[in-house]
């Protein structure tokens, strides 16, 4: 799998996540963080001589905290898997710093849902 393929998959997830967070009142900061992630990934693709896929994701049908929790979990898994799949070592730290941010979003969501914010020492990975 090429680095570009990995980045495109992460970008799709980030765009979906941004669209979802924008539907949830009071979470503009997190939506902006997802948008920042997406812009970073687009720049990474440009650095590889690739153009990011066009088009915005559809508005989520179920815009809820539970849906956001599932998507943030998916993002952590995807970025963790990228650590195995990415060939260019210079991409690793920036991608890891984004993964760490998604881990923080999980903390926020669990607290909002009245759950233990830090359920485990290691989030599940692929």
């Amino acid at each position: 799998m090429s680095d570009a393929t990995v980045i495109v998959a992460l970008l799709e997830l980030e765009r979906r996540s941004e669209a979802l967070w924008r539907e949830l009142p009071g979470f503009d900061r997190i939506a902006e963080q997802e948008a920042t992630h997406a812009r970073g990934l687009e720049r990474a693709l440009a650095g590889m001589g690739r153009r990011a896929p066009a088009g915005a994701p559809e508005s989520p049908r179920d815009a809820s905290l539970e849906t956001a929790l599932a998507l943030e979990d998916e993002l952590v898994r995807a970025y963790s898997a990228a650590m195995r799949d990415i060939s260019n070592p210079r991409l690793l730290a920036p991608l890891a710093s984004i993964c760490a941010n998604h881990g923080q979003h999980l903390v926020i969501l669990r607290r909002e849902l009245g759950r233990n914010p830090i359920t485990r020492a290691f989030e599940p990975v692929e």
Binding site: Q33, A93, P94, A96, I118
Partner: protein, 184 residues
Amino acid sequence: MIPPMRYTRRTLLAAAAAAGLAGCGGADPRPDARRRHIEGDPRRLGLALAFEHTLVAAYDVVGELQRGRAAREVRELAGQEREHVARLSELMRDLGEEPREPRPRDEYLRSFPSLRTAAEALDFAADLEERAVRTYLGYLPDLSDRELRREAVRIATSEAQHLAVVRDLNGLPPAEHAYVTGTT
């Protein structure tokens, strides 16, 4: 008229993380560099383990100054740092290295700042968690084994979550920045 952008250390460091994504177009290291990376993995794991021992000792102290929910959650963080110690120790044994035991508790205590209030203690914990994230992210490009990279990111993500918890307990925004680099 467009107002000039205000550059702070934080925005410059975040821009560097973002720029790190933009500036990536190089190839893998040469074979001799890869050999040096493989030989360095146990040393990096050992250094990370040493820092996790520090975090365990620190959370014991931080927890003593907390009450109620904060005390419960800090105890949980301390438990998770112990799990990080166990995992790193296991990884080191897999590489044929014997993991070092923690130093005597008094040595850690002497190196910690004087903490008088719950808020000061949580600030101290946040500083250590930032440093932990910075440590793991710093090692990533040099870890030769892809599975080790994934483990490093799992622990870095956990430390970032701990950072979010202690910031929240201290009345601060838990997820302050899109790129968690540990360089505030």
